[in-house]
Symmetry: C2
DNA sequence: TTTGAATATTGACACACGTCTATGTCCTAT
DNA sequence: ATAGGACATAGACGTGTGTCAATATTCAAA
């Protein structure tokens, strides 16, 4: 629980990102070396139980965003460790970050989520 | 290219697996610790550029299966390293393995692929 | 301006991971 | 029975990763 009393103010504007519109579905044709490298970076960021839970918490919070002070709970981990995991997700382009006063809010980037979804999509091209 | 002359015989029967029907979508509610652990194992297996390309090659091969002798090409890696990566994918439940004569054929497990797809699915529940 | 709280950064450490060489196993053809 | 090829396993080695304690930074309240 946050120990400060002020209420988080506004919603974040959705951020549009095209850096990740690279990921072909896994199943249609062999990936190129570059596609595989890019996709693997994304997947490595998310391939950790703590980071998966963090992503899932951010996504299911009201407004799709969450304060670090709320995210830290439920983990038996030190504050720097949580901060580290959030940084990994942010550096991979999966989470957006906004500081409001003393707090920092994280929000999932739709483009990155879509890129992950596309990787494992099974629709046959139409 | 395979150095043996015999032609790969039959198709594999599709394998039905329920061990992986565990993965809730990431976005609807916070994952449990167990869900995150299971999903992270799957993701870690696939979060490597070589393994991504291997998966993609297997999936896009005719009949959805591929011989190790064909998979090894296109990589600047030793045969044991390719074998190691295939084992990782197999141990994670992503690839099925069948030995036919001297060759070994790998085939993607639909249930595991579906589990990965579900993780990042954005459909809202219906 | 000083204090205290929220978060990030740094540096250290143990462990996991990707790769290789060397070797083993299993199958087929001779 | 033997030889050779396809694939797996074992062991070694360097690098990457998750974690922590300690410290720095930034902001708000008093």
């Amino acid at each position: 629980m946050c120990q400060y009393s002020k209420v988080p103010p506004s919603q974040l504007l959705p951020v549009i990102d095209d850096r990740l519109a690279c990921c072909t579905p896994l199943a249609r044709e062999p990936m190129t070396v570059e596609q595989a490298a890019t996709a693997a970076e994304l997947l490595k960021a998310v391939a950790d139980p703590v980071r998966l839970r963090l992503m899932s918490m951010v996504l299911s919070y009201e407004g799709g965003e969450a304060c670090v002070c709320d995210l830290g709970e439920g983990f038996d981990l030190s504050q720097p460790t949580i901060s580290h995991h959030l940084k990994v997700l942010h550096d991979a382009g999966l989470l957006d970050r906004e500081k409001r006063g003393v707090w920092v809010y994280y929000r999932a980037r739709p483009a990155a989520m879509a890129a992950l979804g596309d990787l494992f999509s099974t629709d046959l091209g139409l």
